[in-house]
């Protein structure tokens, strides 16, 4: 069960830093130069050691926070909701004086990104949602979002990864502090998304407020939220288009990092 990736590892001294926002401490990675890109991570974790960050930072100044409760960071006031995260990251964008920034949110981070954008798009020029959670499309007796918490880990990996072996983690090999970060992340993910399950019933109603060019990037083999769910998102956001990444599941930025970065660069480049 999620998440499987710890907080900052050995590269901590080199890349992780903290910044105080609205009375809470945000831990983040900053890498690269140029146009700012705020990356909001998946329920599974940030995993900055995977290639996606290095590749993305060749094109952008990537700022990637750990959500409060993940990694070494604390929950906001010991609790917190997705609303809190939306305001926190809007404050972060203001604090860092972002202009024409790119906002990228994956999975749970996509939900947070959408919640930010229905509030204010002022500091951003482009929105990229990667297999986002967060909205309800189908009827009350159907699920749009797989119940990740009702699945054994092996079953979860089959739904979330095109190649489940890629997502497997041998927890027995990890250090105690890494395991602690994983456990804390699991609790935080649960806190934010347990009920209603991984969505805000009112969010879809307001997605029309997103006035930015929006790219919905979807792993062709994602069965946590399928490309059909992505089509629902596309219809709800006025200037959105949906692109499918082959041989990727719920985490295209991990399974197909080159394609992930190419699609973002092409999208931002052509629609400036």
């Amino acid at each position: 069960m999620m998440p499987s990736f710890p907080g900052p590892k050995n590269e901590r001294s080199e890349m992780a830093k903290t910044i105080s926002i609205a009375g809470t401490t945000v831990e983040l990675v900053e890498r690269g130069h140029g146009r700012p890109l705020l990356f909001l991570h998946a329920g599974e974790g940030l995993a900055p050691e995977r290639p996606w960050l290095q590749l993305l930072s060749r094109h952008y100044r990537v700022v990637a926070p750990w959500h409060p409760g993940y990694g070494n960071s604390s929950l906001i006031d010991g609790l917190g909701s997705v609303d809190d995260l939306a305001y926190l990251y809007l404050d972060l964008a203001a604090e860092l004086e972002f202009e024409n920034a790119v906002l990228v949110g994956a999975c749970f981070g996509g939900w947070v990104a959408a919640e930010m954008m229905v509030r204010s798009t002022a500091r951003f020029s482009h929105l990229v949602l990667v297999d986002p959670l967060g909205i309800k499309i189908s009827g009350r007796e159907e699920r749009d979002i797989a119940d990740m918490h009702a699945l054994p880990r092996t079953e979860y990996l089959k739904l979330a990864w095109a190649d489940p072996a890629e997502g497997d983690v041998d927890f027995t090999e990890l250090r105690e502090d890494e395991l602690a970060a994983i456990v804390r992340g699991r609790e935080a993910f649960t806190l934010y998304g347990w009920r209603p399950y991984m969505h805000n019933p009112r969010l879809k109603r307001w997605l029309h407020r997103i006035d930015l060019p929006t790219l919905l990037l979807w792993g062709a083999e994602d069965r946590i939220v399928t490309p059909a769910y992505g089509e629902g998102w596309r219809q709800a956001i006025p200037r959105a288009r949906l692109e499918i990444i082959p041989r990727a599941g719920h985490f295209p930025h991990w399974e197909q990092p080159e394609a992930f970065v190419e699609r973002i660069s092409a999208f931002v480049g052509q629609s400036v």
């Binding site: 069960m1 994983i182 699991r186 347990w194």
Partner: protein, 398 residues
């Protein structure tokens, strides 16, 4: 010592199917429940509870949801019947899973009503609930204990406030006019119980003077009771044995063989209880950070709470009756055997004043259950009373 008879009111006819499917809880469809068989079982179990009143035992009822291990889905419903069918027994609700209940004021109302109906015989357990209760309730496990404590405080305030209404705008619960009728028979509230396995629970219970109970495992009981006594001492009072409860399966017979046979049948409760589809056994936030780290390190293996005398986990699903006696999970044999085992365990954890007696479980039939209850009441109970002749109710410093 007081003894509280208890049965989970199991629907054992579905166990074979549940074991085959790997889960007796949450995901076992109710097509495996035959309502006609259930009708007979529920009435039989309530008769067995009522018998306790005649022979001088107290009564404990619990609840679970979405499971073949326990048909009681509402403690107050069962206790409402028993309040009318009994005259002397004290009635222990152990308890209401208050962090899974959407409406704490309703809990306060039901408990107060039961207390009035029974003439002040209610003892009120406010419990966290088992991890697999999270899914049927769909309550958020990541803030379970914050919700627990807010519900706890609200329930006690609702029951003890006589000049209401009062206002409550908390993190989880919101009311503008709390003013329950009836108010409880016992003032300011019936005695409050908690359950747990940890040192932390022991401390928290001590700070409120509540009774604390633990289940089936002496290796958890010792440290928890010790933490309670220590915290009480720090707060300026001495916690007597009446603050502590210990739950175990009990099988007593005219011969050792008969007692072991009864305990062995009732112990199927212990063997079936942990058979739950894996994803529902450890919802994030339910268990502590350190317990979860230990589980990940062990490759996802969970140690159950039944431990041997050296603290090593006992495989609950296959444990023999001898192993379960060794781990303090079962007391079994002749009346002498059972008395000796209870006394030894009580002594080893500093003394408990309440035994929660699983006197029925699964395939232990009506005849055996009646014999188990009556023989225990006749031959063991009087000696346990002598063991702790005058339990002094401790009073919190405040």
């Amino acid at each position: 010592m007081r003894v509280w008879y208890f049965s989970e009111m199991a629907y054992h006819p579905a166990w074979e199917e549940g074991l085959k499917r790997g889960s007796l809880r949450v995901v076992l469809p109710s097509s495996n429940f035959d309502p006609k068989l259930g009708h007979g079982l529920l009435n039989r179990y309530l008769d067995e509870f009522a018998l306790c009143d005649e022979v001088g035992l107290d009564i404990m009822v619990n609840e679970h949801h979405s499971t073949s291990t326990c048909l009681t889905i509402s403690v107050p419903m069962a206790l409402a019947i028993l309040a009318r069918e009994t005259k002397r027994s004290r009635l222990l609700s152990l308890g209401t899973p208050i962090a899974n209940r959407p409406d704490p004021v309703r809990v306060a109302e039901e408990m107060a009503w039961l207390d009035v109906l029974s003439g002040g015989r209610l003892e009120m357990g406010l419990v966290k609930g088992a991890p697999y209760e999270i899914a049927p309730a769909n309550s958020n496990p990541a803030n379970l204990m914050r919700r627990y404590w807010e519900a706890h405080d609200l329930i006690l305030k609702a029951m003890s406030t006589t000049d209401g209404p009062f206002n409550w705008e908390g993190e989880f619960f919101h009311y503008r006019n709390v003013n329950i009728w009836p108010r409880p028979y016992q003032q300011p509230t019936p005695p409050v119980w908690m359950t747990g396995l940890s040192v932390e629970t022991g401390r928290m219970a001590a700070e409120r003077g509540h009774v604390v109970g633990t289940l089936l495992s002496l290796s958890a009981a010792g440290p928890m009771f010790e933490a309670y006594r220590k915290r009480a001492q720090e707060l300026g009072w001495t916690a007597g044995p009446d603050r502590f409860a210990y739950a175990a399966v009990v099988g007593v017979g005219m011969t050792r063989e008969e007692g072991l046979r009864r305990a062995n049948l009732a112990a199927d409760y212990v063997r079936t209880s942990p058979v739950v589809a894996e994803p529902f056994t450890n919802p994030p936030g339910y268990n502590s950070l350190s317990a979860n780290i230990a589980m990940l390190k062990a490759g996802g293996k969970r140690g159950g709470f039944v431990r041997d005398r050296h603290g090593n986990p006992v495989e609950q699903t296959t444990a023999s009756i001898e192993q379960l006696i060794e781990s303090g999970t079962c007391f079994a044999g002749t009346p002498d055997d059972v008395y000796d085992q209870i006394k030894a365990l009580s002594d080893s954890v500093g003394g408990f004043g309440n035994l929660l007696m699983f006197g029925q479980g699964g395939f232990l039939d009506h005849k055996d259950t009646v014999a188990n209850i009556t023989l225990f009441a006749k031959e063991v109970m009087p000696r346990l009373r002598e063991l702790d002749p005058a339990p002094q109710k401790a009073v919190a410093a405040e």
